[in-house]
């Protein structure tokens, strides 16, 4: 019986490449991986947005309106709905002149209990040390 902790680190901005969305969809997919594991084994996923990756968390994305795409904002909300921890680097948010008011912080409309955590990089670094595997996107 063991828990494998996966840390998904998103460091690219949204849309130009699939990378940030892949991090989110892979993290969400860990919720259904248990059928492939031995009894008692579990996998957890946490997501951290750092560097240019924090731009994924900008709220009011209109990707569906213009391009018929599920927005990265919606993917973040889905991740919250399935109780994935999401960390956003406070320093990088501030570097871009953004504040918490500019970010998607919850998914209340879907009934999610989890919220996005905007924290100093030092805290994200500690979380990364707790992970068994880090995956960079």
């Amino acid at each position: 019986m063991a828990t494998t902790k996966l840390g998904f680190i998103v460091q690219r901005p949204p849309y130009k490449s699939e990378n940030p969305k892949l991090a989110l969809t892979h993290a969400i997919a860990t919720q259904s991986v248990e059928v492939y594991l031995n009894e008692g084994d579990t996998v957890t996923a946490d997501i951290a947005f750092i560097g240019d990756g924090v731009l994924n968390c900008k709220k009011d994305q209109k990707a569906m309106d213009y391009y018929g795409l599920t927005s990265t904002e919606q993917h973040i909300k889905m991740a919250l709905l399935v109780d994935i921890n999401i960390w956003v680097c406070k320093e990088d948010v501030e570097k871009f002149g953004l504040s918490e008011d500019d970010l998607v912080l919850d998914a209340e409309e879907f009934g999610a209990d989890m919220t996005v955590n905007v924290v100093p990089y030092s805290e994200i670094s500690k979380k990364m040390e707790e992970m068994n595997h880090l995956l960079f996107f």
Partner: protein
Amino acid sequence: MKLAVFVSDYRMTVDTLDRLSPEKMGIILVQNGVYHATLKENGTPSALLNKSAEFYALKEDLETRGLDASNVDSKVKVITLGDVVDLIFNDYEKTAWI
């Protein structure tokens, strides 16, 4: 030559833009290039906006990313996809995508 250059990345890994010297240059910010129009890293606007050119940013790509046209730098004109077509046909002889 009148050249329209599409810039689709925020982090530029090539210096092609610096080497271009057309008689008239339009820089059309699309995809992740639109971040040049809105972000001020550590309070400083993108260095790209210091170039001698006309600047445009695609409204659809701004709003896709949750960016508001009201936050766009005053040097940049917000345009639609229809406007891009007009620019290509009416204002510039050649286009480049970097």
